[in-house]
Amino acid sequence: MITKTVNQKAWFLVLPVLLIVALNAIIPLMTVVNYSLQDTFSPGVFFFEGTKWYREVLSSPRFHGALGRQFLYTGIILLIEIPLGVLVALAMPRKGPWVSVCLVLMALPLLIPWNVVGAMWNIFALPDIGLLGYGLNWLGFDYNYTQQPVAAWATVILMDVWHWTSLVVLLAYAGLSSIPDAYYQAAKIDGASSFAVFRYIQLPKMKRVLIIALLLRFMDSFMVYTEPFVLTGGGPGNSTTFLSIDLVKAAIGEFNLGIAAAMSILYFLMTLLVCWVFYTVMMRGEDT
């Protein structure tokens, strides 16, 4: 019979971690929960409001609009960036001196601070002085992202594709590089077409990294703030006001703490839920 030594002092060892997590996650989150359930008129005076802010947010057309735009934006981003990233990764050289050149070029957009990306595109796309805006107008397109919602959307999406496709490329490339040569050789011997090689070797082997790419791109694009804010400020009108931009407007612009807090909680839960659904659906039938 083995006797276990019971030593309650072990709990003290967990304390530092608990403190850090409490300070950086639990306490801020609980503050937000607190705000979302109360109303205030002057500092220090709070009234419990129950689910009032939640009901208000969920029934407001403004929230529906922002949410709809958010899903549309994220959907378009994923539909473009994931396939494009895989295509670019497939086209990249697998060996030789060009590998590092390509990798550095690919990594460049990822190294630029987000607000700088926004500012760059803001100027790049200006119809009177920007290369893109001026060029399009010179070619005969009527393009002005500060006034046309469609142009604003196109610019915001183009910017995100430029900024973030590299991430998908790098992940997909890592997945491709990990496939042993023997697979390609076996496929040659089995007489597989290049599409079959992609479908039965490359895609299955890239599956895991693509799941990660999809999750990262979903979360980042769903929570996007800086770049569209610097580029369009949510306009023209509300046409590029995504959830996070709307949230900041409510919290800081209008100082509507209750509404903003309720929106934050809903936003957080939605991100969590979608990520979970993605993950479970895609890992189904996968051996760990």
Binding site: P180, Q185, A186, I189, D190, A192, A196
Partner: protein, 361 residues
């Protein structure tokens, strides 16, 4: 099925090979008989995989040509050559079932679907995988996966040759025997030309009718397992094959006698060799025995005796040289009198590592 001919074949991974050392595979001329079971045996990096990949068409040789049944296929793809290859690590298509994996090479070649069904069912029986036909290939064990790799080659009845690149490396020891037996059985049944790359002499000697021994990019001997054992053409073959390998002793030759560490050893024939060359005497541990009490023998020191089961291996010192001697079971070693007798007919004389031919009187 085809007879494969290598004509002045050589390969270098350098674009402009200058010296002999730049060649991963030095010149080789050989004909592989249709339906033969061959093993390419040699240590890592000796060029055996290079040779295999040239035969399969994954590599184009820098020099020479390769012919299948008299047709030059040097620049043909593996698919056009119609060969099958099994790799060191099992290659399976993860997302497919076992049956789909076996269908794949046939479907790619546009074989009629009823014919595919028939052949795949047969192959599943042959490989004892019928009960797993519809499970995902990813979930199988390594040896089952390797069977699928093999099966994908065998479902194509008409393949010219099946090539194996150390196929048992990742297989558990107890499964190795079973798979090897299966391979032998399939070879007997289908009669494909099989070429099997390995660095394991047991695998090579049990699988193949003929073993091609390679060393530093060169084919040093091609022969049956018996020939490799009895008459190694090269010192490398001598000590690579056999357990322990052949004893190689620097010596001088004087007619039908060799002088080893100051002692004269009788040889099976007369040799005329260039004195400036590096000359060595090769003798297998099986062909040395301890002398009987009044018999003439060479005096040695016993350094150690290891019991390896069926016999013992004595490590002895003759002058400056160490030798291994196999001591049969039941033979007692004398406590003081240690002299050995070398079987003259089994001695080989090696000049610069290559076996010299002696003239028998």
């Amino acid at each position: 099925m085809a007879q494969i001919k290598l004509d002045q074949l050589a390969h270098s991974y350098d674009a402009n090979p200058q010296t002999d050392a730049d060649f991963a595979l030095k010149q080789i001329d050989y004909e592989w008989d249709d339906g033969g079971a061959y093993a390419l045996l040699g240590p890592s990096g000796c060029g055996k995989t290079t040779l295999l990949n040239i035969i399969s068409g994954l590599l184009t040789p820098s020099r020479g040509s390769i012919q299948f049944d008299g047709n030059d296929v040097t620049h043909r793809t593996p698919e056009e050559r119609n060969i099958a290859q099994v790799f060191q690590f099992p290659v399976i298509y993860d997302t497919m079932t076992v049956a789909q994996n076996l269908e794949f090479p046939l479907a790619n070649r546009g074989v009629d679907s009823r014919e595919i069904r028939k052949r795949v069912d047969e192959m599943l029986v042959t490989l004892d995988l019928t009960d797993k036909a519809n499970s995902r290939a990813q979930r199988l064990t390594a040896d089952e996966k390797q069977k699928i790799s093999l099966g994908r080659g065998l479902v194509r009845y008409d393949v010219n040759a099946i090539l194996f690149d150390e196929p048992l490396t990742v297989i558990d020891p107890h499964m190795k025997w079973q798979l090897r037996t299966k391979l032998k059985e399939l070879h007997d049944r289908f009669g494909h030309t099989m070429i099997y790359v390995t660095h394991d002499q047991t695998e090579a000697l049990t699988f193949a009718d003929k073993v091609v021994v390679m060393y530093e990019g060169e084919v040093v001997q091609i022969g049956t397992p018996e020939e490799l054992f009895e008459r190694p053409d090269h010192t490398f073959v001598g000590y690579f094959i056999g357990s322990p390998g052949m004893n190689i002793l620097p010596c001088k030759v004087d007619g039908a006698q060799a002088i080893v560490a100051g002692h004269r050893v009788a040889l099976g024939g007369r040799y005329h060799v260039d004195d400036r060359a590096r000359i060595e005497l090769g003798i297998r541990p099986e062909f040395i025995r301890f002398a009987k009490t009044h018999e003439h023998g060479l005096p040695v020191w016993i350094e150690s005796v290891d019991d390896v089961g069926r016999h013992r291996i004595a490590k002895v010192r003759l002058g400056d040289y160490q030798l291994n001697i196999i001591v049969p079971e039941g033979q007692e070693l004398s406590a003081t009198d240690h002299r050995i007798v070398i079987d003259a007919d089994r001695c080989g004389i090696y000049v610069n590592d290559h076996r010299a031919t002696g003239v028998t009187a």
